[in-house]
């Protein structure tokens, strides 16, 4: 594979010296994580060293109006290795205002979803779990068709996307581990085959402020007998970039059905020198259950996190990050073994407080 890429050519840096028929870019990360008890993100109580990934992005413009692009990722973590297709699609540009996309396409949602794994575009090693964790808010990509574009009015800009197709929502439900037949925790892909969605973003003059809304809806996999049950998600985001300071905030709501949930976060980063950056984040997720499914262990539906980090940017494409995370709730922080979780819930010993230390690097080219 790499030999083939080398044969095709290769332009790697952003703004490479020559325009080539095929361009290859990439990104990756490695991280260490240590928690004080529960498993959370990159770490557990014994310390985890094996989280790493490398992704290669390949793009070409075989025709003036046609672009084709794909991305593959090789991932290592939790004792497992995987290679997966992030996306692959073709785009035909009728104009700047109307670009047709067909294939397996990044889901336009919020600020980070289209660059889900690209650590050099964010101040922490991991994304805020309240929105981007395995809560069923987002899919990395949809399979189908989309139309997007940009329009301008004076110095204001509008970026928009509408799409339809199938998505696989990343979903982890630790509450299901209380089922006596469950064995271990896993992130499942919730299939939503008939999804319609849109994102609209306003670019304020000066390119320092963007804000927007995202939404999508799909019929529930299991329908009640006498009505059409439609799950929907609505979200709003704002991104302010002023000199050395960057502030990002998002809120999302998942509605319909007996269980609904909300997520939100605010993230602030400040470069106090050309290389050093401080970062802080507050992250929240809450579950509302009208059927009482979380009554035995309400903490399995809750997440409240405060995090602080310090980063050293060697270049915009290479950064070393360290962060500490203080988590209340077990929506995303909990034992991985189902039997262990059941025992802790039954005995009232489930620790609802988790602390994580993370150290690692992100890079891109």
């Amino acid at each position: 594979m790499l030999g083939l890429l080398g044969f095709l050519f290769v332009s790697s840096a952003f703004g490479a010296p020559d325009s080539n028929p095929v361009e290859v870019h990439g990104f990756g990360f490695w991280a260490y994580g240590l928690t004080d008890n529960n498993h959370y993100l990159l770490g557990d109580a014994s310390g985890v060293y094996d989280h790493a990934a490398l992704a290669l992005n390949i793009a070409a413009n075989p025709h003036e109006r046609l672009s084709v692009v794909g991305q593959i990722e090789f991932e290592n973590g939790g004792g497992q290795r995987a290679a997966e297709l992030d996306f692959a699609f073709a785009q035909w540009a009728f104009s700047d205002a109307a670009k047709l996309r067909l294939g397996n396409i990044k889901q336009p949602f919020g600020i980070y979803n289209e660059v889900f794994e690209v650590g050099t575009l964010r101040p922490f090693l991991t994304l805020p779990q309240g929105l981007y964790g395995p809560a069923g808010f987002v899919a990395e990509a949809y399979n189908g068709v989309g139309v997007g574009g940009q329009a301008f009015a004076g110095r204001w800009g509008l970026t928009y996307d509408v799409y339809g197709g199938g998505v696989a929502l990343a979903l982890s439900t630790p509450i299901d581990m209380l089922d006596p037949t469950a064995t271990t925790h896993a992130v499942a892909a919730l299939q939503a085959p008939n999804t319609l969605g849109a994102r609209v973003e306003v670019n304020v003059p000066g390119d320092a402020v963007d804000f927007g809304v995202s939404t999508y809806a799909h019929p529930a996999e299991e329908q009640p007998p006498d009505q059409l049950l439609v799950f929907w998600v609505g979200a709003a985001h704002a991104n302010v970039h002023a000199g050395r300071t960057q502030f990002t905030a998002e809120y999302a709501h998942h509605g319909a059905g007996p269980v609904t949930f909300d997520g939100a976060y605010g993230e602030l980063a400040y470069r106090f020198t050309a290389h050093w950056q401080l970062a802080a984040r507050g992250d929240w997720h809450a579950t509302a259950d009208s059927d009482g499914s979380f009554s035995t262990a309400p903490s399995l539906g809750r997440h409240l996190e405060v995090a602080g980090g310090i980063n050293y940017w060697f270049t915009p494409g290479f950064v070393v990050k360290a962060s500490v995370h203080d988590v209340r709730g077990n929506r995303f922080a909990h034992p991985l073994g189902a039997a262990q979780l059941r025992n802790q819930v039954a005995s009232g010993r489930l620790d609802t407080h988790t602390q994580l230390f993370a150290l690692g690097t992100n890079f891109s080219f």
């Binding site: 840096a13 952003f14 703004g15 490479a16 010296p17 020559d18 325009s19 361009e23 870019h25 990104f27 992005n57 793009a59 413009n61 003036e64 672009s67 692009v69 991305q71 996306f87 699609f89 785009q91 540009a93 700047d96 396409i105 990044k106 289209e114 660059v115 690209v118 050099t120 575009l121 940009q150 301008f152 004076g154 110095r155 800009g157 003059p205 000066g206 390119d207 320092a208 970039h241 000199g243 915009p316 494409g317 891109s364």
Partner: protein
């Protein structure tokens, strides 16, 4: 839409803008460019590949200087309203979302001039004192 865009270019004075008259860079286009003056917003959109056509329908072919270039840093701040870190982040976002690729770069003013002179639709920038023979200097509104 074309009428609206054309209005941007019609009736504008030929004086050079504050950005370009700072004496640090000059915006150049292929000799066949039909515009006499362009607003800084439109230049920014073209360089960031948000706008892909000149008002006459010719495809915009932007070219950048190297990231280490002082001219590029000045151009990015004054015309794009972004630091070089922000420009880099913008292109990372575009590339990894599958939305676009950055313009090619050239290592010197002379190489940018040569690219622009040889490429219909080309748009670039060089230091203000550079020899821009065979290109068209574009005053900025």
């Amino acid at each position: 839409m074309k009428k609206l865009i054309s209005k941007i270019y019609i009736g504008l004075s030929l004086s050079i803008s504050a950005g370009a008259s700072a004496g640090e860079f000059a915006v150049i286009a292929h000799e066949s460019a039909t515009v006499d003056e362009v607003s800084s917003d439109v230049i920014a959109r073209m360089m960031l590949r948000k706008t892909s056509q000149w008002p006459d329908g010719t495809k915009v072919m932007p070219v950048d200087q190297l990231a280490s270039s002082e001219t590029r840093e000045t151009f990015s701040k004054e015309m794009l309203g972004k630091t070089m870190n922000a420009v880099h982040a913008y292109w990372q976002q575009q590339v990894f979302a599958g939305r676009g690729l950055p313009p090619p770069t050239r290592e010197s003013d002379a190489e940018v001039v040569a690219y622009v002179a040889a490429t219909p639709g080309a748009l670039g920038y060089v230091s203000a004192g550079a020899d821009t023979t065979n290109t068209k200097r574009i005053p900025i509104e």
